[in-house]
Symmetry: C2
Subunit: 562 residues, 2 copies
């Protein structure tokens, strides 16, 4: 290899599991008090994912964030009656010191990037709950919220700070560590909170941060509260936010039961999703299985199925599969999506989701599918969809075809049997699963011809053969059975021969045409700059600030401006 | 230094001069035939800026692009009657092979980044001429337009391709060199031309490119022309584009006379702009001088002044000063803007520009000021404006204050004399100089309080003292004469102590709040990813594709996906 991509400590990462449960949390406590949920952060210092660092001062690593992600999901599904969520610290004098520096400095470049991506997605999931799910987040900051700690608080809809001598918000990354507050931080202060850019500049270079009235005046927080009334005011605020929710007052939630998953060498098996890894070709084939029967008739029936309801089970499995590939299989450069089963059964579930957009459970399921599909868009692997005879790319599953960098479809059958490849659209393809750019995948695809969407809408529910799908621009290429095996093999081998970095950059630029949003700015502009900085000796080199932090030795910088 | 930022060949760059003249062009020919201008590219193989590479196949380096930039400026000012411009090749079988690979592989990281930034700005200047100046560009592509060659053609409003066996457009960067087509290429194909994303993906991995009907069907070109009618069709098209222009049919242009500039050690002196470099502190102070008298009464008088007309002379000098600092002074991390002279004289010139928005010459001057101010926004140096007694930050000059990362103002006078620091707005501050995000600097600054702009508008023309400027949010801090020297010194020293890379990333994220445009996407998302790739061993390492290109030895890639 040209240059092994290792961090300083060259710590070997164990298999990282994104599944957990509140019973096993080491760093967070999830409590519910009527309509208010409380997420209390009290990070266990010795509870890091790998050895080599202590999680002091509520600093976090990926393991801490996996628990937060789990808690955010469970609050939505298991606690329908929770209408506002308070994020707070379990420590007296510190809210959170942000991402753990020693963890960052000993991590490989790839791990740093994946860690930041996941923490970003979790903070966006918090905003998604506030924006679409009737579960509004409030950050109750007492003590110091530094760097990633303040970035976490920024994800909340309402940001409260105690007015005392120690509670402050800060971005010490640039002055102290020579990196950026890149878990959305720089973007959220100027784009979400609309802090004036020169004040944002001062704030982001002020190691000790800003507190009190100045924090309020600069729009860094929403509310400043005297210590004497702090607890009462937080509760009062949370109740006020809860009062605006359309979530049910009570009723059973849907327990997110453990995923039915086995990892066995190059095979990962879930109930509806299967991964097969071909290490020689650096390809993972992800098979997506349609439900085995039509959707239940009514929301109550879906609710009774709980986490066995196919769209929910499928979304949870696909989400886990994508995360697994991202962090545990870094040298697999290409993901090939296939599908199997009855497209009509997928369309039937889509129809149920469309018919009850505001039923709390069906809405949560749809929003989880939306977030999972976004996670695919944001995955730095080449994505190819194969539409074959017997495949079930319809509606929700067809979104995977539109998320792929390219898609190929069999013309007719592969073996002379009557099974012919087809593709179908549902109402859900037209705006219910927006990408990060806030457009549907079809609208992004046909930016050059928006009127084409009307024509496509007229085809909803119809099986489209390869000729039609190609004509309608829904697939990239079609091949007949004579050419199929060779053409797809060559396409996959050629893709695997290119530089992984060039492909990451290429895909990040081509996938998000059209408008940029706060979300795309975080993943485009902010993340790309941070990744660049993570490669620069001034941050990550032997004498760089990340590596020298805490050693008592000043970093040495190459002073050239680039 | 932590790690010297040198390229492979460690070629020392000579002082790079952005001033040139058609009489001295080695690579381009500028011809005018009535309303049509022709820019013909015939790069001199041995005419590279530095030794070490040959500019074969119309490939280019910064020197080639400096000529193009000069020609684009001169067409606007010196040729008012030119209403359409044809970009074409002086070679038979090649349009342009894009940026020269050996030049890239031997350049330092900083030079690569600055080269790409300048070429991007020049292509945007071409689009600015088309969009705002009535001078529409047409790319007449015969032969192969590869990589940066096609990116140049993409800047044109109308892209014509010969329908023959060899003429093709291509992006071979990713497959061949492990880098991106990042002179706007990836952004322009999906955002400007709205090529379908999966087709864009195929195109960007197809070394040999796309030609003929397929190029047209994929929206990669606007028009495909048989060889037999090529010349006639190009002329016909150019005439049709020219017919839509509001530029004058004839009349004298304004010769862009050589800048009055002396570079003497740490001092650079122009007529209205002066640079003083403090190498110890890594600071460049840029003094901006107001005109010495009120504006001429009418456009004809301004035209008679020609390149001595203050706003034009000032813009050309400031533009050159910024470019000089960028490429010739890489270790100067901070630019301090000061000004001097009579603010009323600036406001008087602003009033003339506002009064005649569509007079061709005054419009060109205003558009050049706009582009120069954008160049400041896009300069990867910390920018601080000092508003002092005697300064002339009014209207157009005040834009520099709003472009700065932070601005500080003296409360009252510095020495007890009657001269007090003041700041003034003009109509031009309200939308006439949009940033890359298409908002004015004031609108970007007050995104959180858009109504504030109305209040500011009521202050147009009034001198605002430090108290008012602070209250109105126009400056970041004010200091009285007791604190001024210490506070500004500390601010500057502290800034200079931070990691240059972290500051570059910080500023790139904080300066462009609000909407993203094709232009900000090019400089944000696309450029940031390319800079990351330029740091990665897969491209720039000893065994990377950029270094191995042309050696006959295959590059070796770290296969981990990040």
């Amino acid at each position: 290899m040209a240059a092994p991509d290792t961090g300083a400590g060259a710590v070997t990462m164990p298999l990282i599991d994104f599944q957990t449960h509140p019973d096993r949390y080491r760093h967070w406590k999830l409590e519910v008090d009527g309509p208010i949920g409380y997420l209390t952060m009290r990070v266990e210092e010795t509870g890091g994912l790998v050895p080599g660092y202590e999680l002091k001062l509520n600093s976090y690593d990926l393991g801490v964030d996996i628990e937060l992600h789990d808690a955010v999901q469970r609050l939505r599904f298991e606690h329908p009656g929770v209408k506002a969520v308070v994020i707070r610290s379990g420590h007296d004098r510190v809210f959170s010191a942000g991402a753990n520096i020693r963890m960052l400095s000993q991590s490989s470049h790839g791990h740093k990037v994946n860690f930041c991506k996941f923490t970003n997605e979790t903070r966006l999931a918090i905003e998604d709950a506030t924006g679409h799910s009737g579960q509004t987040y409030l950050a109750a900051v007492s003590g110091s919220a530094a760097g990633g700690g303040y970035e976490l608080a920024l994800a909340a809809q309402h940001l409260m700070l105690v007015d005392d001598r120690t509670s402050a918000v800060s971005f010490p990354e640039a002055p102290l560590l020579a990196v950026l507050p890149a878990t959305g931080g720089l973007t959220r202060i100027v784009d979400k909170r609309k802090v004036r850019r020169d004040l944002a500049d001062v704030f982001s270079t002020l190691e000790e941060g800003v507190k009190g009235q100045r924090a309020l005046q600069w729009r860094l927080i929403d509310e400043l509260v005297p210590k004497s009334t702090w607890q009462a005011r937080v509760t009062e605020r949370a109740k006020a936010l809860a009062a605006r929710s359309d979530r049910p007052d009570d009723g059973p939630g849907v327990p997110l039961v453990p995923l039915d998953r086995t990892i066995d060498g190059d095979q990962v098996r879930y109930r509806w999703v299967e991964i097969d890894i071909d290490r020689g070709r650096r390809v993972a084939t992800v098979m997506l299985r349609a439900p085995e029967s039509a959707a239940p008739a009514a929301p109550a029936d879906a609710l009774a199925l709980g986490s066995r309801f196919w769209p929910l089970a499928f979304a949870r499995e696909l989400d886990d599969a994508i995360l697994h590939l991202r962090v545990n299989e870094p040298d697999i450069g290409l993901v090939v999506f296939r599908s199997a089963g009855d497209p009509a059964a997928v369309l039937s579930h889509d129809a149920l989701l469309v018919a009850h957009p505001n039923h709390w459970f069906l809405r949560e399921v749809r929003l989880l599918l939306k977030r999972t599909l976004k996670r695919i868009d944001l995955t730095a692997r080449s994505l190819i969809a194969l539409v074959e005879p017997g495949s079930a790319f319809a509606g929700t599953l067809a979104e995977v075809v539109f998320a792929a960098d390219r898609s190929v479809m069999v013309e007719g059958s592969l073996d002379g049997s009557p099974a012919r490849a087809s593709l179908a659209l549902s109402e859900l393809n037209f705006g219910w699963y927006p990408m990060s750019n806030d457009l549907s995948r079809l609208a992004t695809r046909f930016l050059g011809d928006p009127g084409h969407l009307d024509g496509l809408r007229a085809k909803v529910g119809q099986p489209l053969d390869a000729g039609q799908a190609l004509e309608l621009g829904l697939v990239t290429f079609t091949f007949d059975r004579t050419d199929w095996a060779d053409e797809t093999r060559i396409m996959i081998e050629e893709r695997a021969s290119f530089s992984p970095d060039a492909l990451t950059g290429l895909e990040a630029n081509l996938r998000f045409a059209g408008p940029e949003t706060m979300e795309t700015k975080i993943f485009g502009r902010l993340t790309a700059w941070q990744n660049w900085i993570f490669q620069r000796p001034n941050a990550a080199g032997e004498e760089g600030a990340l590596r020298r932090y805490g050693t008592g030795v000043q970093p040495r910088f190459d002073r050239n401006r680039v």
